[in-house]
């Protein structure tokens, strides 16, 4: 992790930059292409689709041609928010997802980081182990945990001794427990991710702060909560944003488990359900997408304000 040094240097000296009018015509042209190409790609593949999602949520459209739009007012929203039986469960599950990660997943990652930041024997090996699931795709994590959770053949029910009996819980199938089972699998990945970010954050804390705190008679916990943790404010902001966004983005794992049904509905799943398959109604799917977008804008704007407030690039 010594590779991080050039990165922390990145925050030190913002270089004074050259104004465009000081450039020759040829250079301005080259720069125009260098700005234009990525911007056009962003416009076509991110910003216009974003606007289109909002527009489509007010439309009735069969998706067959660019001309067959009909204004539909708020009908899509009325259906999505009040008549769709899956909306409230999905919203609730997203909230539970966020709370679970915020109360268990993220603090666990922080705890691991704090423990491993000490000069402890085998720290690197532990880090590698906890970090391993972060490299895996979430879809694959769904499969791996399916093998753990299987009703008759899974590790957990065999460990509990219920496998093959009528008392065996179908962890991913039972609507009362499958959300929690999926969250355990998601935490398996999330905690390692948070650990790595906090390990980098902890390394960035000035060691003299700790020394000063212990000279003032603070114990370990006081030093951490009163001095070290507040000193990691930039990392904390990122962790908060990542935790919220990850819980809004959650999709792959529930889609792999059962297509996001029967206890595993999420907002992201509703968008996709109305996009593919026989239930395709573009306007309603877009209404769900806009709900997801509006919620997502809260952490995104918070992050952008925090990041760009105090700087001219």
């Amino acid at each position: 992790m010594t590779d991080l040094n050039p990165i922390s240097a990145a925050s030190v000296t913002p270089a004074p930059r050259r104004h465009l009018r000081q450039l020759t015509g040829r250079d301005r042209g080259v720069l125009g292409v260098m700005i234009g190409l990525p911007t056009i790609i962003q416009v076509i593949l991110v910003w216009l689709p974003l606007v289109a999602s909002v527009v489509l949520s007010f439309m009735k459209w069969d998706g067959l041609s660019f001309t067959s739009f009909h204004w539909n007012g708020l009908t899509n929203y009325t259906f999505a928010l009040t008549q769709s039986p899956q909306f409230l469960p999905a919203l609730l599950h997203n909230v539970v997802w966020l709370l679970f990660l915020a109360v268990i997943g993220t603090p666990l990652g922080l705890l691991l980081a704090v423990l491993l930041d000490q000069k402890i024997r085998g720290s690197r090996i532990y880090q590698s182990i906890f970090f391993l699931p972060v490299m895996l795709s979430v879809a694959l994590i769904g499969i791996i945990w399916e093998l753990m959770y299987s009703q008759d053949n899974g590790f957990i029910n065999n460990l509990l001794g219920t496998a093959g009996t009528s008392g065996a819980i179908d962890w991913f199938g039972n609507a009362n427990v499958n959300l929690w089972a999926a969250l355990v699998a998601a935490t398996w990945r999330h905690a390692g991710y948070i650990m790595i970010l906090y390990l980098a954050g902890l390394k960035g804390v000035d060691p003299s702060l700790r020394e000063a705190a212990s000279l003032d008679g603070a114990n370990g916990a006081q030093t951490f909560f009163r001095v070290v943790f507040p000193a990691m404010a930039p990392t904390n902001v990122i962790i908060v944003v990542i935790t919220i966004i990850e819980s809004l983005r959650a999709f792959d794992i529930v889609w792999v488990i059962n297509g996001g049904n029967n206890g595993l509905e999420l907002l992201s799943v509703l968008v996709v359900k109305y996009l593919v398959g026989e239930t395709q109604v573009i306007g309603i799917g877009s209404a769900f997408a806009v709900v997801l977008l509006v919620i997502s804008l809260v952490p995104i704007v918070f992050y952008l304000v925090r990041t760009f407030r105090n700087r001219e690039i």
Partner: protein, 300 residues
């Protein structure tokens, strides 16, 4: 464990105050590490055992034989060569294009002042923070309605084409890479490009000869990170690809799951096969990957 406790008791090591917490810490970490490894080891263990044995003795047993037959069967029956090839065809161009466009944009916003450079950088950054599902419907419809000659696309559109997945992934990843690279390029001293400019180097030469070579550590870290991101991407192929034999390996998990549902040993072997490329990157380039992750998060 005993070795740790014994050595901790020797007086030459840390004082009595620190001894006990460390033993407790190790105990906690060992328990956690074992819990963390069980899912992967369980998959590997299941994959190494013939189905006949697990049917006979149960999955939670050690009796019977161990061999690699499940891997061979999963590889042959699962269609892995096609899926892996699709993954490569998607991942390599996506990572190259993303880094190319992102580095150009980062160079332009971080090395020159112009009217909208901060605004554009903010919008690029914001785009990557969105849940991709928000963009999915319009992109799907756009790709469906774009008419392409059949000589290029056998579907006549951008749907069901690997190039469509490459485009969607590139568009979505450029924002993040631009943000990271602009932070990095900003710190490169102006004197270097100024000196080159005085010697007659144009903007393109400054980018190719000076800024890009100096950005290499960040590019290497981002490339590693992006290879894993794109290889692990499940969502865009799910939306944009309809033919099973065009799926990359991560999204093909759906097919494998259906195909091997009655045979957990094969499913486990398939899962292990999919882990292997990530594991190679993990062992060879873990530092790069971690650097990439923290690079994106080091600004706030």
């Amino acid at each position: 464990m005993s070795a740790v406790t014994v050595s901790a008791r020797t007086p030459s090591r840390t004082g009595p105050v620190r001894r006990r917490p460390h033993v407790g810490t190790h105990l906690f970490l060992i328990v956690m590490a074992v819990m963390w490894l069980i899912p992967l080891l369980w998959s590997l263990y299941t994959a190494l055992r013939p189905k006949a044995d697990t049917d006979k003795y149960g999955y939670f047993s050690i009796a019977g034989t161990y061999n690699l037959q499940n891997f061979i069967d999963a590889w042959n029956q699962g269609g892995f060569p096609t899926y892996f090839l699709n993954s490569v065809i998607i991942t390599v161009p996506t990572v190259i294009l993303t880094l190319l466009f992102a580095s150009m944009m980062a160079f332009a916003v971080s090395r020159f002042s112009w009217k909208f450079n901060v605004t554009l950088l903010i919008m690029f950054t914001a785009g990557n923070l969105l849940p991709p599902q928000v963009l999915a419907t319009p992109i799907f419809e756009l790709f469906k309605l774009i008419q392409l000659p059949y000589s290029i696309s056998d579907s006549g559109t951008l749907l069901n084409q690997l190039v469509g997945v490459i485009a969607a992934n590139t568009g979505f990843q450029i924002g993040f890479c631009t943000f990271v690279l602009s932070n990095y390029m900003k710190a490169i001293p102006t004197e270097l490009t100024e000196a080159a400019r005085v010697d007659g180097a144009g903007v393109w030469t400054q980018y190719v000869r000076i800024i890009m070579p100096l950005t290499r550590p960040a590019l290497a870290a981002l490339a590693t990170l992006e290879v894993i991101f794109i290889y692990n991407d499940y969502f865009w192929p799910l939306i944009l690809i309809q033919s099973g034999n065009r799926l990359p390996v991560t999204t093909a998990i759906n097919n494998l799951q259906g195909q091997f549902l009655s045979n957990y040993n094969l499913l486990a072997a398939g899962a292990v096969i999919i882990v292997i490329p990530t594991l190679i990157v993990y062992l060879a380039l873990q530092r790069q990957f971690v650097a990439g992750l923290t690079l994106g998060a080091s600004k706030g």
